[in-house]
């Protein structure tokens, strides 16, 4: 592409005063045309095109954005979808612990997650990947199989290690994002503003856990399978061309509920709570059990811990 932007003085540039129109009108018309041209199919509205990064919006702008999204979802799925913007609870940093001695690799968590978080069903995007590993090898990703499919689990001689976003304290994924569409929120949850994500997938390359997933096509989410309780930064239906990932079920946990994977796990392997609460089960685990962090040597400092309950 050879078109150059006109040089702007610092502080932004004024468009030339056009006859018979204010600057705002000019911008409106120009960007609407541009939006249509850019998306090729004209589905990007002027408002969406002009929308800023979620963190820069005023309270009123957030409400407007949410109202617009809810209207779009209503039109698309023919049903009411609520989009919350519940903020982080002060004094809370979420931690997760997974008991490797109990997980049997049944993948109940994987599918509960898909349902809860409105992932594309075809092809199915899964935020949790359960790795089957050889007991003899220990935690060794070179001996991991995510596609195991026996009649019954657990299988002799194997153990299972579910991997999902580790909500790193030093997340490489957010550092590399060229537009700041992903960040670590105050309660430690690494979130994505899907409306600001440009789909460059740098974050996917940077994440050492394979925790980020890209919507190559329009996510196929049947209307009757939509979970209507959503959060702007979590499980609201995503557009094509954005990256998504586990958010510790932000739409549930910021309201006090456990994540869907904790609720479903039949072996009780999954533990969740507030790292700042010294009476929480998560703190008890960290203080009393054998705990390790996955790929600790990379210094990503996960808030997701693996432990041995026995």
């Amino acid at each position: 592409m050879t078109d150059h932007k006109p040089e702007c003085p610092i502080g932004g540039c004024e468009p030339p005063a056009t006859i018979g129109g204010t600057r705002r009108e000019f911008l409106g018309a120009a960007t609407a045309a541009m939006a249509t041209a850019l998306t090729g199919c004209g589905t990007l509205s002027k408002e969406e095109f002009l929308q800023h990064n979620f963190r820069e919006l005023s309270k009123q702008e957030v409400l407007d954005v949410i109202a617009r999204l809810e209207k779009e979802y209503q039109a698309k799925y023919g049903r009411e979808v609520k989009v919350a913007n519940t903020p982080a609870i002060p004094g809370v940093i979420f931690g997760y612990a997974l008991d490797l001695s109990r997980c049997i690799g049944c993948r109940r968590c994987v599918h509960a997650c898909v349902k809860e978080n409105n992932q594309s069903r075809d092809p199915e995007i899964q935020w949790i990947r359960v790795l089957q590993m050889d007991k003899e090898e220990g935690v060794n990703v070179q001996h991991a199989d995510a596609y195991y499919n026996p009649e019954e689990v657990p299988q002799e001689g194997h153990f299972y290690m579910p991997v999902q976003c580790q909500q790193c304290k030093k997340p490489p994924c957010t550092k590399v994002c060229p537009v700041g569409a992903t960040w670590r929120d105050k309660d430690g949850i690494v979130v994505v503003d899907y409306n600001w994500c440009i789909g460059c997938r740098y974050c996917m390359a940077a994440c050492p856990y394979g925790a980020r997933h890209f919507n190559w096509g329009e996510p196929h989410l049947p209307a009757d399978e939509v979970n209507p309780k959503t959060h702007y930064l979590g499980n609201r239906p995503r557009p094509k061309g954005v990256v998504e990932k586990c958010t510790f079920c932000i739409q549930r946990t910021r309201n006090g509920q456990y994540p869907a994977c904790v609720e479903i796990c039949p072996t009780g392997s999954r533990k969740f709570g507030n790292l700042l609460d010294k009476d929480s089960e998560i703190r008890y685990i960290l203080e009393n059990k054998r705990v390790f962090k996955f790929k600790e040597d990379l210094n990503t400092q996960p808030n997701f811990f693996y432990f041995y309950g026995v």
Partner: protein, 190 residues
């Protein structure tokens, strides 16, 4: 059908968990958000109903202590409750070690102290003290409800059949689609 004989008295309360209960993981139910149900066990813990086989509780509807006198003798049951296989220390244990002979709607500890079915974890904890300790603090076993509020504790017997305690194997849910099998859809920019 034969009338219940004395021998059936002995096993009257061995009623927990038919194998069918394990076909689905016990996890399926408590998914309903923060709602916490079930009778409160002693200590104010929220626990679900113990997974009795259908139509069998209260045990005193048969074992009323009058028409059948309790037979305390350790023996193999041949008339009733024959579906129960005891794979839980069978060499040294039998029904009345846990089920109370005088009140069949109750269990009892080694001391003879009675405990209700909703507090069966106290019974389990006599031998599995480390597990009970972990269960109380929420490390072993499953809790649902809210991470910062009321929680429901699954009882030991919601996951482990007390007569065959080993956690039952499950059929895994579908694996992810291997990349080479993901189809390009017509018109889509996959």
């Amino acid at each position: 059908m034969r009338l219940p004989t004395l021998s059936t008295l002995a096993a009257g309360l061995l009623i927990l968990l038919g194998p069918a209960v394990f076909a689905d993981p016990p996890a399926a139910k408590p998914l309903s958000g923060t709602k916490v149900e079930g009778p409160a066990a002693p200590e104010g813990l929220q626990v679900p109903s113990p997974p009795f086989s259908e139509g069998i509780f209260p045990c005193t509807s048969c074992h009323d202590g009058k028409s059948m006198k309790p037979n305390l003798k350790r023996r193999e049951l041949t008339d009733m409750h024959t579906d129960i296989a005891l794979h839980h220390g069978p060499a040294s244990r039998w029904c009345l070690d846990c089920h109370d002979a005088n009140n069949r709607d109750s269990l009892h500890l080694a001391s003879g102290e009675k405990v209700p079915f909703t507090a069966s974890y106290q019974l389990c904890g006599q031998c599995h003290g480390d597990k009970l300790r972990d269960w109380r603090v929420g490390v072993h076993g499953k809790r649902t409800g809210s991470w910062n509020g009321p929680k429901q504790y699954l009882l030991c017997v919601n996951c482990h059949n007390p007569h065959t305690p080993r956690f039952q194997a499950l059929k895994p849910m579908p694996a992810p689609t291997p990349p080479e099998q993901i189809q390009t859809r017509k018109g889509g920019a996959r």
